[in-house]
Amino acid sequence: MSPALPRIVRLYCGLSRTLLPHDLWAEHGRDMNEAFYDLYTEAASKPTVSERARLIGRELISLFSTAIEERRSTRRQRRHLLALRARPRTSGHGQPPDNNPLSGITDMFDSVLSDVRYTLRTLRKSPVFAVVAIATLALGIGANAAVFSVINSVLLRPLPYEAPEDLYVVWTNFGRDLPQNWLSGPEFVEIRDLNTRFEEVAIYTGAA
């Protein structure tokens, strides 16, 4: 590849290194980046940008699906090896029958624990991937919590008064240019004195 790589090619190199399992990237990372560079150069020579957009979309899908499939395959192989190691040795008459009704549950817990251990080992081996994954989770959870707290306080929870549905805000209307304006002190006094519609009238200020 040339020294002045397009930004998208550099991004692809970084992403492939982060997402793909280390062993696959170590064996073929350079080949992948060069093939992507060649494909991008070909797409960039076309007059429309749609070719480049299609290439990038296709490559991202390929990258993510390969990362998931390769990690799943590695996990399957490890699980198979663990199962082979854990198999009890018999005296040539095959495996003894398992009559314990709890063994299914125990197997399930073993499998979950094995998954958790494997995940932690993988995260430790790929610290960049781990940081990206944890930061993405933290940002997602934080953003969700913030949006929910706003929606909850503004839309879902009623105002902290006895009959919040009977509360009204009164504005003054000065025509088309100023249809909704705050009340002045004298206006409030006038409304309070002439009030026949509301049980009570009160005033508040937004000033600190």
Binding site: S2, L24, D31, F36, T41, R58, L63, E70
Partner: protein
Amino acid sequence: MTTEGPRKHLPLAPHDFEILLSLSHGPMHGYATITAIRERTGGDMVLGTSTLYAAVRRMRRAGLIEEAGERPAQSNGPPRRYWRMTERGDEVLRLEADRIRRAAAAADSVLGDSAEMRKS
């Protein structure tokens, strides 16, 4: 490399078959393989680079392809790594092509019979 028979690899995944078919013309690097498959299938199969190299690694481990050294790139940059089909790969490719031919003939026969029955 595995010592089991070549039939163990059948049926081949469609993109594995296409990769072997491309390499049957001679050694190729990744970009050339992707464009050869795209052109031969009329754009029906366009492999992503990571899909291609995951398959390359799998087939190399199975002894179906092997590295054929590096050659200078036609565009800029370092030399590209080439891949070629092994004898075992050739054998598997021919068995898979035969299997597909027989499957297609069986499908033709069944579908032809159904068409005849509908006409009559």
